[in-house]
Amino acid sequence: MSLRGKSAIAGIAEFRPSRYTEGATTLGMLAEVGMQAVADAGLEMKDIDGLVTEAFAESPMFAPATVVEYLGIDAKFAEVVDHGGATGAAMVLRAAMAISAGLCDRVLCVTAARREKRSNQGPRQTANTGWAGRRSDRTPYSEFEVPYGAIGANLGYAMIAQRYMHEFRLKPEQLAKIAVAQRYNACHNPEAIFYGQPITVEDVLNSPIVVDPLHMLEIVMPVAGAAALVVTGAKTARKLKHDPVYVLGAGEHTTHRSITYAPSLTHSPIKVAADMAFDMAGVRRKDIDIASIYDCYTITVLISLEDAGFAKKGAGGKFIDEHNLQFDGDFPLNPHGGQLSFGQAGLAGGMSHVTEAARQLMGRAKGRQVKKPEFAFVNGNGGIMSEQVSLILGRDK
């Protein structure tokens, strides 16, 4: 059953990313940003009948029920999505599914990340504590990766980049150009964490290498923040405040958790997800006006552009040379600055690719508005190119 045009994004809200939060609870942030998104749609919380959230640090179990209770929602559909960076896009897919199945009609999707300064003695007080050596959970990750210091995401994406450069032609300057174009976009977005701080290709290449071959400025910076959106049935959306942003296509594909066991380092699961989304939408690659592509690293964007079908495999570097990726260029990529320059607020960072696509299609992106966009491609990426969710969003049903 196709989801095409059956639901739409009707409201969005996002906190301005910040380096730290002081004393805030994730639940409080989820509630606040959720309230804003509902108001943005022109709805009240009593109108919401579905809730999709994340397994946030303070409530890894009973997360949806906790949020439902806190906000006083009467939910006919409440669930948690666990797809890492792809969670935001996956929430839209699941909301669209639930609406299409007739379970509910107005679904609030909400993510948030608090981030406190590390204390001098204590352990890291961030939601990421679990990355470093959760010995007792006896997962293959804990048993076969952590003992080697294969911890976090940097090294996995670095190994993807190394292998890519071994198999295909790619110059460091080409990867750097992605970060530079997105910083240009962020300099037109006062909400971005790196607003007012333009960079050059030389700046990227002169920044320290963290894990070969990735430079500091090619690696996303964790911040605090929150994002939420409201997905409603298409009919409902047409009666609300903003022009509906229709969910025209969606696809999902997961193949591995650790990059060690990925079917390929250079061909990601995105291809299947993107093909599903484009086929469902009946939209061609060349119809896309905005590419809102998950960018935890520059190499992520390069491989996504290829696997989503915008460039041939191995020709991503050439594609970057041949196109202007700025919001005012011929291939607008991550007009909000991407997470590299807007900031990665936990799973809200992934959702920022959805909210920005919706904002642009609604014509509300102010100083970085792409001219009259009709269609946006969104890709969410979780883990180490592990979990992929692609969406095609559009102004026309």
Partner: protein, 139 residues
């Protein structure tokens, strides 16, 4: 004068009943892995069921310890606090002769000399009296 050993502070694996033969093998300085009859290659990591299908048969086989670097990175900054004194160090995906991919460190060499495709050989590092880790060095 006796020298006190520095206590090992990095995270250690917690073997499960399923993975125990692998860890026991390492302790004897042998690389023992499950072999898939169906895929005709080694399976890494050990599993209770085969990832190659329901009719597969997994049997424990000793591997040669030979492999090549499939991909790698040099950590210039620590990937976790326990490795803060170790930089630069190499984390790699090794393709062993028997077909499986696994993650380990490439040790006993200058990190700048590691290349994709480089032949490597298993090294068994006794990190504690109980645990031996599988590592690789240039062949």
């Amino acid at each position: 004068m006796t020298q006190e050993a520095t206590p090992y502070t990095r995270p250690l694996p917690e073997p499960t009943p399923t993975t125990r033969p692998f860890w026991d093998g390492l302790k004897q300085h042998k690389l023992v892995l499950q072999h898939s009859a169906r895929a005709k290659k080694a399976v890494y990591y050990p599993r209770s069921v085969s990832p190659y299908g329901p009719n597969d048969e997994l049997s424990w086989v000793e591997c040669s310890g030979n492999g090549t670097v499939y991909s790698f990175t040099v950590a210039r900054r620590p990937t976790a606090p326990q490795w803060s004194e170790a930089c630069p160090y190499v984390i790699a995906i090794v393709e062993i002769e028997e077909g499986a991919h696994l993650t380990a460190n490439i040790i006993d060499c200058d990190p700048e000399t590691v290349r994709i495709g480089m032949p490597v050989r298993a090294v068994f590092v006794d990190v504690t009296p109980e645990v031996t880790l599988l590592q690789f060095r240039p062949a």
